[in-house]
Amino acid sequence: MGIAPGKENENGFSKEEIAQLEGLASLYMQAKSLILYSEEVDPDYRSNLQTIKELRDAFDHLMRIIVERFSDDKFSLGDVSGTEYFQKNIQKSIGHVYRAAFDALDGAVMSLREKIISGLDAFPLEAVKDILPEYWDIRVKLEELNETIGDHRARKDIGGNIGETLDRFVKDVDILKSFHKKLLSAGPALEEYKERKNQEGKKEKRSQVQISVTNAIIGGIICAVVGVIATVAFNSYFQKTNAPDKQAPPQISSPATK
């Protein structure tokens, strides 16, 4: 636009204002990258209208600044103008861009959480323990992030340390992103583990069946032997008890013979 910075220029921006506009531009570029990332990582490649709305509002406040500086009709601007008007609107614009970035990161966390859970659900936990031992740390991180989803939208104003909060959030999302990538590449190893465990399970089942059959056979044989022995013992016992007594019965003389 060819406007030299400085208060001497009626429409121009002061050095401080230019630095703030540069800050907004830089923040916007970062937020944009996070929004694009969030849309790419979404399971259905969906956009979030909340994010689009935040960008619309950020643009609106930026345009208020431009209109205030360049419009001939300043009647409509209300009580404040100049630096005060600039400060009020640049802060609001920055706040909306931050919220757009947080919305995007929330979306990315949710998409990654969903993908990690569905990725892990296909495998037994022992396989995950063996092949992806870092899962337990990620799990803690996922639960922590789960608690904060949507929190920033409840706050109307941005705090002084919002930049640090955003940086920490980006770092956390990056940890999840790396783990998800690792989970995807660990797929074959997890499948192999699952297959091996299945084979081992089948083998164990087979050997259990073999043991059961052997036990049954041995048990059967033992029962048969015991049965035979018992039969023999019973027979001999009954033969003994039922056999006619070898002792001659006592002679009872009948009264007729006398």
Binding site: S47, N48, Q50, K53, D57, M63, E114, L120, V128, R139
Partner: protein, 82 residues
């Protein structure tokens, strides 16, 4: 490039927004966007053929405020393997 709407348009818009001059819109805020004042997916679909804007929006690949809230609840309640 200057775009100027006609006097008639100005009058219609000003009357409908209850303002005296078109320039007064500068400090007006856009309408809210929430679960109670949500985007009408069906209505959006009606204009998708003639809309030359975003492909994502035209093909319905977006979350409305209500859908987004429901998504948050659903995903927050998903249990991690333990």
């Amino acid at each position: 490039m200057t775009i100027r709407v006609s006097e008639t348009t100005r009058n219609i818009v000003c009357k409908s927004l209850d303002i005296d001059r078109l320039s007064e819109v500068i400090d007006m805020s856009y309408g809210g966007f929430s679960t109670t004042a949500d985007v009408d997916r069906a209505k959006t679909g009606l204009y998708s053929d003639s809309n030359r804007g975003s492909v994502r929006l035209n093909t319905g690949r977006y979350y409305t405020a209500k859908e987004y809230e429901e998504r948050i609840t659903r995903i927050k309640n998903m249990k991690l393997p333990y």
